[in-house]
Symmetry: C3
Subunit: 163 residues, 3 copies
């Protein structure tokens, strides 16, 4: 009975990780259509073939960098630099058998901080809103990495067949 | 007997994931030597120490951006933005116990779309070839993320010792 | 008894992977505070809101690219392009049941090569120091990918409950 409880608890942590990892990865992926939207509305493209249907005299002008496009791209880059480490460290952390409530606190704080970070970055909110949300996300990942590295943790893996 | 079948089926999905994940990651990594090749042949470098053996009067000219180099780098960046989400979501998807045939369809469509995307990008093929291959890859990842998020899936993990 | 030995051996490989994956991901994450440090000391920012507390006449001048900042950013980008593939391929490799000593060799060579790469990049050491450390890291990842792709490997997963 005790064993079953363990399975279920670990399962819950891994399920929670799956959910939050999928959410932050999807959030990151949405930066690509957002970049496309700003490229189209601001008329700022990066490749010759992207403007080949425009009149010849306009083409040169459309191959340029626009501040709004660059802002979204910097936000996307910041996501790559922070969300992927979270997913990698979070996977190892989830396999180290943390308490469900502690794990959920980590996952939710990170997810919230990154959603706010995007709003602060794309909306150009006054600092230190963006800086603080970036730092909070980093601290969550550092906290999980500390657990992965510091204790000789036991790797729990979930085995749930037909249940 | 039923149980054995389950193990094997799940094993197959995870094996398939391993293979296609390794292929797309290797494809992404090959963009780095390709960038190096274009930097050398086009004479366009980013760091002082990379041109220190050239004659002093040439050095300044070689520290520049070349359109061909920038094109390969944008393609590499697009890979980072799309292939890594595929690998993360694909791992969670593979552990959610999908049908092997459905999983293979996802993995193969994604792999094919990204190989074509690279050809379209580096070869500067007319649009919408690059745009459509990028979109197909995204849709595959979204489809897997939908399964990970939508159903209270059971995480299957493969345990195959001495077999 | 044999079975227990197998569990333990595989556990060791996965534990080793967790440790080295966490180390290289943390190393990569430290590039962000290092970028922030160079932005502050060199006075080179990317966003209007980052310089809004400075005197109005200085603001324009602070929104610029500085060679030292760009160098750290290129190093960070190179980490993204190399460390994340290592983590993905390394995870699949660790699950393929390699010898612990072989696995440790791979993980340690990669970790050492990337730490040296950062020193060579940020310190602008003469080439080919940076080029060789980059190549060594790539070769390690290719070697692991070869194993993942070449043999019909058995996926070992660790199951350690209450131990």
């Amino acid at each position: 009975m005790m064993g079953c409880g363990c399975y279920l608890m670990e399962n819950d942590v891994f399920m929670a990780f799956s959910t939050y990892a999928a959410i932050v990865i999807l959030k990151m992926m949405l930066m690509a259509p957002m970049t496309a939207y700003y490229r189209l509305t601001r008329g700022a493209f990066a490749n010759d073939e992207d403007v080949s249907r425009k009149p010849a005299e306009e083409r040169k002008k459309l191959l340029r960098a626009h501040p709004d496009v660059e802002r979204v791209r910097r936000c996307h880059q910041n996501d790559l630099e922070n969300i992927i480490p979270f997913v990698v460290i979070g996977l190892l952390y989830a396999l180290s058998g943390p308490e469900l409530s502690t794990a959920l606190l980590h996952f939710r704080l990170f997810t919230g901080s990154r959603i706010f970070h995007t709003i602060a970055y794309v909306g150009a909110l006054p600092q230190p809103s963006r800086g603080l949300s970036w730092m909070l996300g980093m601290l969550v990942t550092f906290s999980m990495a500390y657990r992965v590295l510091s204790k000789k943790h036991i790797l729990y893996l979930v085995l749930n067949i037909n249940s």
